[in-house]
Amino acid sequence: MSVASFVSADSVEDALQALADGARVVAGGTDLVVGARQGKAPLPEQLVAIHRLEELRGIEETDGGLRLGALVTHEELAEHPVVRERFTALADAAAIVGSHATRAQGTLGGNLMNASPAMETGGPLLCFGASVTLRSAAGSRTVSVADLFAGPAQTTAEPGELLVDVEVPAQPAGTGSCYLRLEYRRQMEIAVVGAAAAVSLEGGKVGSAKIAITALAPTIRLVPASGQALVGSDGGGEAVEAAARAAADASEPISDVRASADYRRAMAAVIARRAIETALERARGGAA
């Protein structure tokens, strides 16, 4: 099957109508076209391109939080001063997606809707409690990122729905965050194992802690037990070890070309510990 029809939408309404008529969406192409080249899935028969939709661009500050358009690129996220300062894990993640070519073209909306269990931006967004707006010709709804992922390459979005923006709420004062991954190559790499952590400190104690694991389960997932191991503690070595162990215990890795399940499980605690330590260091205001 090859692409029979291609339209470049002039408005979100145009795009939604095309989706309602059975088209699939393309933005930066960095997953869709690569997937087709690899023979994973042929290009859809009907395509609607959304790269010209200005209303889906832009990073806006909203009451301590962020509104991120679906077409915000990884490059824009990685370079944005507010993302880097207050939502650091998201900047960490965006900065290591693909190469500079991937980051210049690949979009946040595409990264989320591709729903890879190894995606970089998902863990930070889960830790920050982000949600997405899904629009269709029939209306619009808000879905938490936690409820968006349904499985490898599967989301809970309906075929006619378009992710239009991502809302990231304000974080507690004194929050530090970090995303990191185990990798074999510095660019054009996919996480072998990844972990995201967002922790806040109140008077030297951990007030809140969210830990998410990447490439360790069918979807990116939050590990509540890992956060609980930190809350109320002073963020010292013992609590961090317990939190990292909880993250590893929550993993259900697969064996694939990049790593065996055993290796992933063994590395899960290491990567989670490093992410948590760096998030704590950042929360304490240290250089990280």
């Binding site: 291609f6 395509l47 660019q187 054009m188």
Partner: protein, 157 residues
């Protein structure tokens, strides 16, 4: 069924007829006829096909040609000023950054994008930025030296 479109490559508009699913790399090599950009992996791993799209790097094997309509595409052929090589191209020759040459078009485009975004990169920054471009001959040292030579000379690619 092929569709008609116009691709502007290195400042020149080319009316072409292409399949809607054609990649930018296929369109530029086969329909436009500029074969400087190479197909290495065809999988966004190697960077041999890298072009600039409105000044930003793109792996053209993984981008639909029709999405480039109305935009500026720059390939390795657009880096030189007529017969005059760009400083980066000259530096690649002077520093032995070219061996078989297959990765060179993508390397040059990638390094051009790096130097535009960061005119004074450190060696580490050059190595990271170019690690999306694979070279199987040079061992990278000549390439990195070439980029650093241009960066320290005047910061323009």
């Amino acid at each position: 069924m092929k569709v008609a479109t116009t691709l502007t490559v290195n400042g020149i508009p080319y009316p072409v007829e292409i399949e809607p699913g054609a990649t930018l790399l296929q369109a530029v090599r086969e329909a436009v006829g500029l074969t400087g950009s190479k197909e290495g992996c065809d999988d966004s791993e190697c960077g041999a096909c890298m072009m600039l799209l409105d000044g930003k790097p793109v792996n053209s094997c993984s981008y639909l040609a029709l999405q480039a309509e109305g935009r500026e595409v720059t390939t390795v052929e657009g880096l030189a000023d007529g017969a005059e090589l760009s400083p980066l191209q000259r530096a690649f020759l002077e520093q032995a950054g070219v061996q078989c040459g297959f990765c060179t078009p993508g390397m040059l485009v990638s390094a051009t994008a790096l130097l535009r975004a960061n005119p004074r990169p450190s060696e580490e920054e050059v190595r990271i930025a170019l690690s999306g471009n694979l070279c199987r001959c040079t061992g990278y040292d000549g390439i990195v030296k070439a980029v650093l030579a241009v960066a320290s000379a005047d910061g323009s690619a």
